[in-house]
């Protein structure tokens, strides 16, 4: 890597590169792994040194907006019968994680509350009314579920369903999903919102017994 390129990279880092040179350098960054790696390292170093912060809003900003939104009327119910998904109790996730989680089913022989159990936090029962009927039942789903990976802790003696485990692979899937959208010109409004604004606690819907109680209004067809 030449000194000239390094200087350009530095200028790019500071946002001081002119438009033509920036375009040229961005294209090189896409093609050259060494250059991209250097860029990442420099950025990391600069960020750590500067420790920049975003100007905070007033402490009650989010609460006031939430109150305003709550007071607004929601779209009228459209009459589709909601499937009742019986799911008692809930699970929670270990703290300070990135974005997403998937269910990992407890395996045979696993004992809740053992040493390798995940930390259990507040329970948030699933909102059954948001589940749309799919024509599938728990019996259909269970044989396909993967074997147990880890156990979970018991909370308050409640019967526990599938354990939660956060998995960065889901975040990676989201990134790739958006990348393909960008690449194909099928962009949308702030496509990375789920990545930038991760949940502080995932609400989970287990695969339940009554998913197939009320089929969706339209019959399925071949997806491809």
């Amino acid at each position: 890597m030449t000194e000239d390129i390094k200087q350009q990279l530095s200028a790019l880092l500071d946002g001081e590169l002119d438009s033509d040179t920036r375009r040229f350098l961005l294209r090189r960054l896409q093609r050259e792994e060494e250059l991209a790696g250097c860029w990442e390292r420099w950025h990391l170093a600069r960020d750590c040194m500067q420790q920049q912060r975003v100007s905070p809003l007033r402490p009650d900003f989010a609460a006031r907006i939430a109150a305003a939104l709550q007071s607004e009327a929601q779209p009228a119910a459209r009459g589709a019968g909601a499937t009742i998904l019986r799911w008692g109790g809930g699970l929670a996730v270990a703290a300070s994680v990135a974005l997403a989680a998937l269910l990992v089913m407890p395996g045979p022989g696993s004992v809740p509350g053992t040493a390798d159990a995940l930390p259990a936090i507040a329970v948030q029962p699933a909102d059954a009314s948001q589940v749309v009927s799919s024509g599938l039942s728990e019996r259909d789903l269970r044989p396909n579920l993967s074997p147990v990976a880890r156990t979970v802790a018991v909370t308050d003696g409640q019967s526990l369903g599938p354990a939660l485990r956060l998995d960065p692979r889901v975040e990676s899937y989201l990134m790739r999903h958006n990348a393909v959208m960008m690449q194909s010109g099928q962009d949308s409004f702030v496509p990375f919102i789920h990545v930038v604004s991760p949940p502080r606690q995932w609400s989970m819907l287990p695969t339940a017994d009554h998913l197939g109680a009320e089929p969706a209004r339209a019959e399925p067809d071949r997806a491809n």
């Binding site: 438009s19 990135a98 269910l103 990134m175 690449q183 010109g185 071949r222």
Partner: protein, 316 residues
């Protein structure tokens, strides 16, 4: 005669009273398509800077967005203002989450003026209607209803700024009419191009996954397919997945769902079951030694049905 004239007058008055309402709520008068098309163009071409709130599952977050479109493509910086400090910046084909992950590195990009929404394809799955006027972030808006024709996709109520059709508020709702996710600008400056300094990320890095560059493939060469999938979704794109896997993108003209089929990793547990967060749903299962994961802003039933229908193409 006078009686007939009076009846005609009454009918005329009644028609005048009904006509504006019928036009306002009209479904098939083409206004909805026009507004949706204008919105797509606005998203692909306009510069804007603003702050918006994002609500789902009882969680409220504030984010700030800087968006600029120039000869290099779309530039966007999105920063969370509440909770963990996270940031995503996009410069043309490059996207970077705070922490160094590059989501993509492809020279292809959407040209200015691209309409990302396929108006023709969405007709069988959605019904459009233009609703009332409203005011968001101090600006006059018109409400556009995007109603799903079945439960395999969410409906949307969009508040579009009158002059530009840029969406200032969005509510996604399920078949029961309950909102699953919504966002709304509290302040926005439309037509203001953010500077390079504003677009460049300035946050400390955080742990983030790395996404490999996307290699697009010919959809005809797909080795996996979805049988009895949710109505209206068609295979729109095929890309190479990780570890000799496949990445399918299905679309109903508006909603897009990604299907990943990848060989099982020896050192990682399988992903199985359903996850929902706001409008985002994820379903994972294992098929013939492969991890199948479906991701999209669609109801849980949609990702579930798609995942359950995955079979090898040569396996019939």
């Amino acid at each position: 005669m006078r009686r007939g004239a009076a009846r005609a007058l009454l009918l005329s008055i009644a028609w005048l009273a009904i006509a504006p309402t019928a036009a306002k709520d009209g479904v098939d008068d083409g206004q909805g398509e026009q507004w949706l098309s204008r919105m797509s163009t606005a998203l692909a071409t306009l510069d804007y800077v603003g702050t918006f709130v994002y609500v789902r599952d009882g969680q409220v977050d504030a984010l700030r967005v800087w968006h600029r479109v120039d000869d290099d493509g779309a530039h966007e910086r999105l920063v969370s203002l509440s909770g963990e400090l996270r940031e995503m910046s996009r410069h043309g084909p490059l996207a970077r989450l705070s922490g160094g992950a590059r989501a993509s590195a492809s020279p292809r990009r959407a040209p200015s003026g691209t309409v990302p929404i396929d108006l023709a394809a969405l007709q069988p799955s959605y019904q459009l209607a233009v609703g009332d006027s409203d005011r968001i972030a101090g600006l006059p808006t018109r409400i556009l209803e995007v109603r799903p024709r079945d439960g395999f996709r969410y409906g949307y109520r969009l508040w579009l700024e009158q002059a530009s059709a840029l969406p200032l508020k969005s509510v996604a709702y399920g078949s029961d009419g309950r909102a699953v996710e919504q966002w709304m600008f509290t302040e926005i400056s439309i037509g203001t191009a953010p500077t390079d300094a504003e677009l460049w990320p300035g946050t400390r890095p955080a742990a983030a996954p790395t996404a490999p560059p996307v290699q697009m493939l010919d959809p005809a060469g797909a080795r996996w397919q979805v049988r009895d999938g949710p109505r209206g979704f068609r295979l729109a794109l095929l890309a190479a997945g990780g570890s000799d896997g496949e990445h399918h993108v299905y679309s109903d003209g508006l909603a897009r769902v990604s299907l990943y089929v990848e060989p099982l990793a020896a050192d990682a547990p399988n992903l199985s079951g359903l996850l929902r967060r706001g409008a985002l749903s994820v379903f994972g299962r294992v098929v013939d030694g492969h991890q199948v994961t479906v991701v999209g802003e669609v109801p849980p039933a949609t990702v579930e049905r798609m995942a359950q229908g995955v079979v090898a193409r040569d396996g019939g």
